[in-house]
């Protein structure tokens, strides 16, 4: 066994200059991360197939002569399923880092944990908002081409929110906005909430299950609230449930007397998401990883 020779160490100087990093660098890093894993391609790909495919099916199967619901309304059914993919991706963006141990590498490279979470949230939100809005815009155009411009006869049954102009079916500006940007915003916010839940629970399956509960439970609970004394609670549960929120953005709310445009539900979801992200940021900063 030989002892290492003790020699005077040369002064080491790194070849790369050191500067202050900022959110921009974290954003570039997170963008590289999200575009280089298969789960992104798969979840968003499946979402596109669901949103566009289901709409195509509806357009193909329905007889376009009888229109009673809002012209753009059929986009709803694809989105109801498609949103699940966005929620899954939102959870995976952060929980996969915990699952693989990557989070330790990430936080060693960027010890400002709030910045890491912010960069993840921004990149994820921008990506899913864009993809969802584009998909919804395509279905809206598809539906307008199929169900818009149809003559409405004297005797035909008209839904309360079907817009008719000069005897022809059409869509209002609010309906266009709700069915594209509105739905894109709502689904992307749901995804962001999933990301926050993923950061809080640090476990993929647990976080995805939790989000399924958030989306489905209010409606399921409401079904069992049949007594009169609970009628008000039941209505609120239905009104703010995620499926009804999206339906409202399409101006097809489940409750006929409810507010139709879905803006209130959008605001409520934004508040819940902001609170969850704040909690995620606070726990991430404190916890051992």
């Amino acid at each position: 066994m030989t002892a290492p020779v003790h020699m005077p160490a040369p002064q080491f100087s790194s070849t790369v200059p050191v500067e202050r990093t900022h959110l921009g660098h974290a954003l570039r890093s997170e963008w590289t991360k999200i575009r280089t894993v298969r789960s992104t391609i798969w979840t968003l790909g499946v979402m596109l197939v669901l949103i566009l495919g289901i709409n195509l099916l509806i357009v193909g199967l329905s007889s376009s002569d009888i229109v009673s619901d809002p012209v753009l309304g059929f986009g709803l059914f694809g989105v109801l399923l498609g949103q699940l993919c966005v929620m899954t991706l939102g959870v995976l963006v952060i929980s996969s880092e915990y699952g693989t141990g990557m989070i330790r590498t990430t936080l060693t490279a960027c010890p400002q944990r709030g910045r890491v979470l912010a960069a993840k949230a921004i990149v994820f939100f921008a990506l899913t908002f864009t993809v969802t809005t584009v998909a919804c815009a395509l279905t809206a155009l598809m539906n307008y081409a199929t169900f818009g411009g149809k003559p409405v006869g004297e005797g035909s049954f008209l839904g309360p929110r079907l817009v008719v102009e000069n005897g022809l079916t059409t869509a209002s500006g609010t309906q266009w906005l709700g069915a594209t940007v509105g739905v894109g915003l709502y689904v992307a916010l749901l995804g962001l909430l999933s990301l926050a839940v993923g950061a809080l629970l640090r476990h993929s399956a647990g976080a995805i299950t939790t989000m399924m509960g958030v989306v489905l439970l209010p409606l399921i609970i409401a079904i069992f609230m049949q007594s009169d004394s609970l009628h008000k609670v039941q209505e609120k549960l239905i009104e703010y449930s995620s499926p009804n929120a999206i339906a409202s953005l399409y101006q097809m709310p489940m409750l006929e007397n409810g507010d139709a445009d879905g803006v209130r539900q959008l605001v409520v979801l934004a508040i819940i998401t902001a609170v969850a992200l704040g909690a995620a940021c606070a726990t991430l900063s404190k916890r051992d990883v």
């Binding site: 080491f12 590498t105 490279a109 960027c110 010890p111």
Partner: protein, 328 residues
């Protein structure tokens, strides 16, 4: 330069790291030695601000880790093999790290070349062997060309070729004047690479000394003698004023005398010897004795007995500890 001051980490009522104070000096390979569960990894995670200390502080070049602007350019760390998203390619894994610290993308190709992963740069790391995962972790550590490098058990689970490669890499990095802090539970590994030694057991600092001092202190050489006439031999030794210790098996252990001299002494006294052999205590033994009391989980059976056999060790270790304390 990494300075630890009174670093303590408790999980509930279990103390993982207990009031550690030491300094990792620049331009030297410092070995961080301790048995499994001694708190080495916890200490290293706290150095990187991944775990929060219960009390105490760590300064890297005078700053807290969180205050470093581009940490990868100060300190590179290999914590565990495969702290990596397996679905990402080696190149993309390094690219996203480089981008977060403003490191140019060509540096990614450079480090892949250094660790020999260039041919598999576009492969998903999921399929990598342990050795390849280790190399990818080292590539990430080298990315920012940092002055300080930290490796947690880098040779664990590697084949001889991989161990050889890591040893040479560390020597090369140290020769460039970098600070290297490397943990291990193998004394023999440290003896080959480290110049300075920090030993912990059950989270407590047990030794902070140079490797040269540790070897001088612990590579005890002696001559072992067995004879059917121990009483006569004892008298002969006493006559020659040579001090001997008798071990459990009744053999003589004689320090500070050559075997030739002992053999001649026996011949002059017409004594029969059954054994006359020069012995060297290994550093591994010295380390085991030093940490014997602090090993958290003893194995049952023969190993446990060995632990009992080493029972007087703490005294011995303590004596050695105070001794080096004087020297330091």
């Amino acid at each position: 330069m990494i300075e630890l001051q009174g670093l303590t980490k408790r999980y509930g009522d279990k103390t993982a790291v207990d009031d550690l104070t030491f300094t990792v000096r620049p331009g030297v390979v410092t070995g961080f030695l301790g048995p499994n569960g001694a708190g080495k990894s916890t200490t290293m995670r706290m150095m990187l601000d991944l775990d929060n200390p219960t009390s105490g502080s760590i300064r890297i070049d005078g700053k807290h880790y969180r205050e470093l602007h581009e940490p990868l350019k100060h300190i590179g760390a290999l914590l565990e093999a495969k702290a990596i998203h397996g679905g990402r390619t080696a190149y993309n894994h390094l690219l996203c790290l480089a981008q977060s610290n403003r490191i140019p993308a060509r540096r990614v190709d450079e480090v892949l070349e250094i660790v020999g992963l260039a041919p598999v740069a576009k492969k998903r790391s999921k399929g990598f062997s342990l050795g390849m995962g280790q190399r990818l972790g080292i590539a990430a550590a080298l990315l920012g060309d940092p002055e300080i490098l930290m490796f947690d058990e880098p040779v664990n689970g590697l084949d001889p070729e991989g161990i050889h490669w890591i040893r040479n890499l560390m020597k090369g990095l140290a020769a460039q004047g970098r600070t290297i802090f490397v943990s291990s539970h193998l004394m023999s590994e440290m003896a080959l690479t480290a110049e300075h030694l920090i030993v912990i057991g059950r989270g407590k600092l047990m030794a902070d000394t140079t490797m040269a001092d540790f070897i001088a202190e612990n590579s005890r050489s002696y001559v072992r003698v067995r004879t059917p006439e121990p009483e006569k031999f004892k008298d002969a030794l006493a006559a020659a004023s040579i001090i001997a210790v008798i071990d459990d098996e009744g053999a003589f252990e004689i320090e500070g005398a050559e075997s030739a001299k002992i053999g001649e002494l026996a011949a002059r006294n017409q004594l029969v010897l059954h054994e006359l052999s020069p012995q060297q205590a290994s550093l591994e033994q010295a380390f085991m004795q030093l940490t014997a009391e602090s090993v958290e989980y003893h194995a049952g059976g023969p190993a446990a007995e060995a632990g009992e056999a080493a029972a007087p060790a703490p005294q011995w270790g303590a004596a050695w500890n105070t001794h080096t304390g004087k020297e330091a």
